[in-house]
């Protein structure tokens, strides 16, 4: 008999959300939003329970389940969560109802729209909870489908280009990742796709060094494109700018985290030696060494700073927020490079912090578009007295994103930089300047778009400008409250991250 509060919980949650998807599509256009909202709640309840349960910090996977599936290749239906994955599953389940609420007045093909959002919910939950690489890959690829259609059908004027670019770019990266999965599978040679099994093998027997190097490269490329890290990031601004708000929220909130989660769950734990090993290179008279760990420092630092500078040059608020995601996800890459408890816990915390805050910022950008008809900051100056609530919400979310203490981003930033100091010493002096540039682009954006005298650009309809509607407002308020709660009580998540952090670091032979 299946115990629905232990091994059955995860598959039933995914199944329930998929049933909800069908129910939403089968409902009428008018009721579809309500059906979708109700259908998103079981996953929220279940993941909240999971998060609470892993909070007690066991070292192994909770709600672990494993059933035979494709015996010929050894693929199994294996699920389970720990602190790292439970918090991301919970983030997904929280953002889904909020996005439905935010998009309450969507009137273009609402049945399909809300069904796609639930489909995305279910498949992303699958990514964060599956412990079998084969299963993981299926969910991973399936996530592309609802997002592709969200951009291609409900997107902006250039949606065809953006959706195709999104699909082809991240899809190709997934193939590289799949090659990595195959390498792990054949390299281990035990006929198992199970992440726990492969992790144990990677740690005990170890893969041959050069083989592990190649496999790590394949996995890292697949995951870094998804995060995305510079130089693989250019699909993101296009996708964000063209996507409808709901698409942007889920893209920034959870889809990018699939990339960092992959690094944290698969690439680094299984191929830890390859991640930290130094490799000597001799190019004629120049001899030097490198490691993936240092490459991650470079990629992270470049993403953080380059992304921040790009934000300074943006006029479209949405593309500004998109580049800020590149910058903040660069913090995660940097954090992983540290291989310290502070860095790893900070990476996990930044995932959730960015998921909550960037989701809120994309909502704000969407509301700005609804209220004023444009997102171009240069056309908007002086709107604050006309849209005071939107101004307040946007400013609060910006402040959260720039790492204001008391809100969630600060905890992530502090732990990551502390880990960076431990691992890289004075090299912290390069990425740390992002703190200033980040504050600069957000405050400058507020000043240009909201404060100062009225610009009254002819393209902006001042007559019909209205403040943020109720459903949109409360979605953002909910996210701000979450950012505040986790900013004041970091122990809610950090407790369960510690177990994961120590486990991975033990595999890496550090700490």
């Amino acid at each position: 008999m299946l115990d629905i509060l232990s091994e059955g919980l995860i598959p039933l949650t995914i199944l329930a959300t998929l049933v909800g998807t069908l129910a939403t599509y089968a409902s009428s256009n008018r009721t579809s939003r309500l059906v979708a909202l109700v259908a998103s709640l079981p996953a929220l309840a279940a993941t909240t329970y999971m998060l609470w349960k892993v909070g007690f910090g066991g070292a192994t996977y909770e709600f672990h389940a494993s059933w035979e599936w494709i015996a010929a290749i050894g693929a199994r239906l294996e699920f389970g969560v720990d602190g790292l994955s439970a918090s991301l599953a919970w983030l997904t389940a929280v953002l889904t109802p909020l996005v439905i609420l935010y998009s309450w007045h969507e009137n273009t093909k609402p049945r399909l729209f809300f069904a796609l959002i639930l489909l995305m919910d279910a498949t992303v939950l699958g990514v964060f909870t599956s412990l079998d690489l084969f299963l993981f890959y299926i969910f991973w690829e399936f996530v592309l489908v609802p997002m592709y259609f969200l951009i291609a059908v409900w997107g902006g004027p250039n949606r065809k280009y953006a959706s195709t670019k999104f699909f082809v770019y991240t899809g190709s990266a997934s193939l590289v990742m799949l090659l990595g999965f195959m390498a792990l599978y054949f390299g281990a040679g035990v006929g198992s796709f199970s992440i726990p099994v492969l992790t144990a093998i990677g740690h005990t027997l170890g893969y041959a060094k050069e083989f592990a190097m190649l496999a790590f490269a394949a996995l890292a490329i697949g995951f870094l494109v998804k995060m995305p890290s510079v130089p693989f990031h250019t699909w993101l601004p296009d996708a964000h700018v063209q996507a409808p708000t709901a698409g942007s929220v889920l893209l920034a909130g959870v889809l990018l985290k699939m990339g960092s989660y992959g690094l944290m769950r698969i690439a680094i734990p299984i191929l830890g030696d390859a991640f930290t090993a130094h490799h000597a290179v001799a190019l004629g008279p120049i001899a030097f060494w490198w490691s993936y760990q240092w490459a991650f420092y470079v990629l992270g630092t470049v993403s953080v700073l380059y992304g921040a500078f790009l934000c300074l040059a943006q006029d479209d608020l949405k593309s500004l927020i998109a580049y800020s995601s590149v910058s903040h996800m660069g913090m995660v890459t940097l954090a992983l490079a540290t291989v310290t408890p502070l860095g790893f816990a900070g990476a996990a915390y930044m995932n959730v912090a960015h998921g909550i805050i960037a989701a809120g910022m994309f909502m704000a950008a969407g509301s700005l578009q609804h209220s004023t008809g444009t997102r171009l900051l240069s056309r908007l100056g002086g709107i604050a007295p006309r849209v005071p609530r939107l101004t307040g919400l946007t400013a609060t979310l910006f402040l959260a994103s720039l790492g204001l203490p008391g809100l969630m981003g600060f905890i992530a930033e502090f732990t990551i930089f502390a880990g960076t100091w431990q691992a890289f010493g004075w090299l912290i002096l390069i990425p740390i300047w992002s703190i200033l540039i980040t504050a600069g682009y957000y405050l400058w954006a507020l000043q240009r778009g909201f404060y100062g005298p009225e610009v009254r650009h002819p393209d902006v309809d001042w007559e019909h400008m209205h403040d943020v509607p109720t459903t949109e407002r409360w979605s953002m308020v909910a996210l701000i409250v979450l950012a505040l709660v986790f900013g004041v009580l970091p122990g809610l998540l950090m407790g369960s991250y510690n177990a994961w952090t120590l486990q991975v670091l033990a595999l890496l032979g550090g700490a």
Binding site: Y207, L436, G440, E454, L489
Partner: protein
């Protein structure tokens, strides 16, 4: 050096029961008031002003309980719990009520209360919707300041420190539809954040090295001596944070611009409290600088003294030609903060060499006195601005003395006090600051130079304050607004009068009764045996018989007399226009540092990098991506002809593909494993 370490140890008595609740309520009451005011203030009197006033009064009452206990010789108390853990590091939350924090929180809540009460009249013309924002943020600010004073570790102090910075940003930009206010708010936030990056880094250095950020544990950490290199850099970084918050050179430029906010904001945040947080931070960090010992510690103190002494003089020169009444006071604030850092630097230097704690006490006394007289002067200028119907240019004033008697008299007391005229408060602390620098000069000649600069600053201070007083209150009214000026209501004049009393007498604490140094000194514990202190009566005699005292008095009187001879008759024709050239132009434009350094750095360098990066991103990186896609597209067009719709063709190509993939995989596996 062991005998110079603070006595206050890890064994501070633990707060418990009702005492703990009282202690926590001190910062918590204003936070609650901020929240409630923000959400329901719109429907209440003056945007919900009553709530913050009640909450701050509550904080003041509770602070006074601890203050009286301290005066009666109460021991320091503290409380601390784990906040969260990462790896082997535990983040803690806690409060520490020692003499320094109890004294400062009492001062902060008292000044906040007077200034917020004053605001109810000063901002009476504003709509309730705007006032709700004003009072909510003001209450949050008070919570931030109280929190950063009472917290017992660097990280929590930093969190409240940043909350203060946020409130400063929001209140400078209170009139956000004005372009200049929005710009000034951003500038203030970014400049202080530049300093905060250093503070942030300093905290990280301390935390990762010593595994704790608690003042009590850190100052007695057994490994301090073993990690002097880290301690040195951390100490410098912390000072960097103080330089940003207290607007010292080279991060001084945001504060004059911050005058874009309502004058009551300038009085509270940019004169009496927040800008003092940097001074407090350095005072709080004293044990770490001392732990660096001779050779390293004294060079750090020398640097602190140099920054303070230079800022004092440099910004005083700007006040000489300022035309806006608030700008005069803003430059003056920078200059006086410089005095405090000079005293801390020279005092620390003296302490390391001789064990004398006079400099630390002088800095803290000046902090308190300055808080009183500068709050008084700012509120006085607010009263003038209101009386003048929102004109604040000194050239438009004149002859206000007869129309605004209370404002005039109270501001006169404030001006005499800041000028350093005996027996008003400024006299005592300024004298102690200068005498510390002078004594440190016998150990290191640089402090002689700094003392000379301090003395020159004293002369300039007297001059520019009385230039302001004469231009505003004496002579004949120069405009219609000055002609029709009126005195402000009692809600404003009563706080002015109370502050005038404080600004007159607060300095006397140094020399009467048990004396200020008996309470606030380094090491700031209940134990007096460690550093040398003068008994208050003895100190009084020493001050009154020292030639230096009369030198600084003479300099101050000289400054006043020069101002009188130049401005008594009214505005000289030479100052009728905004100076653009010569020395006056240089001073008026703040040595063109903004135009020469900060604007190019922001507008040219940062924006230039951003624009180049944006071009590179779209044309370079994304250009390559699209290039690959185009190649693939053309290749696709070629290969499309293979898609002939015949099942056999597809089957064949699938077979070939699978074969190739399996072969490659097989080769790779064979090569690298087994």
């Amino acid at each position: 050096m062991a005998d110079l370490m603070p006595v206050m140890d890890g064994m501070v008595q633990t707060l418990a029961g009702s005492d703990l609740w009282m202690a926590l309520a001190i910062p918590a009451l204003p936070i609650l008031a901020a929240l409630v005011t923000f959400f329901v203030g719109k429907r209440m009197w003056r945007g919900g002003a009553a709530l913050p006033i009640a909450a701050i009064a509550g904080s003041l009452g509770l602070s006074l309980v601890f203050f009286l206990r301290m005066l009666n010789g109460g021991e320091p108390v503290g409380w601390s719990i784990a906040w969260f853990k990462v790896g082997d590091l535990t983040f803690t939350v806690g409060v520490l009520f020692d003499n320094l924090s109890v004294w400062l929180m009492t001062l902060v809540s008292l000044l906040s209360l007077l200034i917020v009460v004053f605001s109810t009249a000063y901002l009476a013309d504003e709509t309730d919707e705007h006032l709700r924002r004003y009072y909510a943020v003001k209450a949050l600010f008070v919570a931030g300041m109280l929190g950063s004073v009472v917290m017992d570790n660097y990280l929590l102090m930093f969190i409240f420190w940043e909350i203060m910075g946020l409130c400063s940003y929001l209140l400078i930009g209170y009139w956000y539809t004005k372009a200049s206010a929005a710009t000034a708010a951003k500038k203030a936030f970014l400049t202080t954040r530049l300093g905060d990056i250093f503070l942030f880094l300093g905290i990280i250095l301390l935390f990762t090295t010593f595994k704790t950020l608690s003042y009590r544990e850190l100052f007695h950490h057994p490994d301090l001596a073993a990690h002097k290199d880290i301690l040195f850099w951390a100490g410098l970084c912390i000072f960097g944070g103080a330089v940003g918050k207290s607007a010292q050179f080279p991060l001084d430029l945001w504060l004059p611009d911050a005058m874009e906010g309502p004058t009551t904001v300038s009085a509270l945040i940019h004169a009496a409290t927040m800008v003092k947080a940097g001074v407090y931070l350095v005072a709080r960090t004293f044990p770490l600088y001392v732990a660096l010992g001779l050779g390293i510690g004294d060079s750090v103190f020398l640097l602190i003294g140099l920054v303070g002494g230079f800022t004092a003089l440099y910004t005083a020169t700007m006040a000489l030609v300022a035309l806006d009444i608030k700008r005069v006071l803003a430059y003056s604030t920078l200059s006086q903060l410089g005095y405090m850092f000079l005293a801390l630097g020279a005092g620390g230097y003296l302490f390391l060499h001789t064990g004398s704690g006079a400099g630390f006490t002088a800095a803290m006394l000046h902090l308190m006195n300055h808080a009183f007289f500068k709050a008084l002067l700012f509120l006085g200028s607010a009263s003038v601005i209101l009386g003048m119907h929102h004109h604040q240019d000194l050239r438009e004033m004149g002859g206000l003395r007869s129309k605004m008697k209370v404002t005039y008299l109270t501001m006169l007391i404030g001006s005499l006090s800041i000028a350093g005229i005996i027996p008003l408060s400024g006299f005592w602390s300024k004298d102690e600051v200068l005498s510390t620098a002078f004594h440190a000069g016998s150990l290191n000649g640089v402090f002689f130079v700094l003392w000379g600069m301090g003395l020159l600053t004293a002369a300039m201070t007297a001059f520019y304050m009385f230039r302001m007083m004469f231009l505003a209150f004496h002579g004949k009214p120069r405009t219609e607004s000055a002609e029709n000026a009126h005195e402000s209501p009692a809600t404003m004049t009563v706080p002015l009068a109370l502050l005038a009393v404080a600004a007159a007498v607060s300095g006397l604490w140094l020399v009467f009764g048990p004396g200020f140094s008996g309470i606030i000194h380094y090491p700031y514990s209940a134990d007096l045996g460690e550093a040398e202190f003068e008994a208050s009566g003895h100190l009084l005699m020493e001050i009154l018989t020292a030639p230096l005292t009369y030198l600084s008095l003479a300099v101050a009187l000289g400054g006043i007399l020069v101002a009188r001879s130049k401005y008594k008759a009214g505005l000289p024709a030479s100052e009728a226009e905004v100076p653009t050239r010569g020395v006056r132009g240089l001073l008026y434009n703040r040595y063109y540092v903004t135009q020469a350094v900060y604007e190019p750095l922001g507008n040219v360098v940062a924006m230039g990098v951003a624009k180049v990066a944006n071009w590179f991103d779209r044309k370079g990186i994304d250009g390559a991506v699209n290039g690959v896609a185009n190649v693939a597209d053309r290749a696709g067009a070629r290969t499309r002809r293979w898609q002939d719709g015949k099942l056999t063709t597809y089957m064949a190509s699938v077979a070939v593909g699978v074969a190739v993939a399996l072969f490659l995989l097989h080769e790779v596996v064979l090569r690298f494993r087994w």
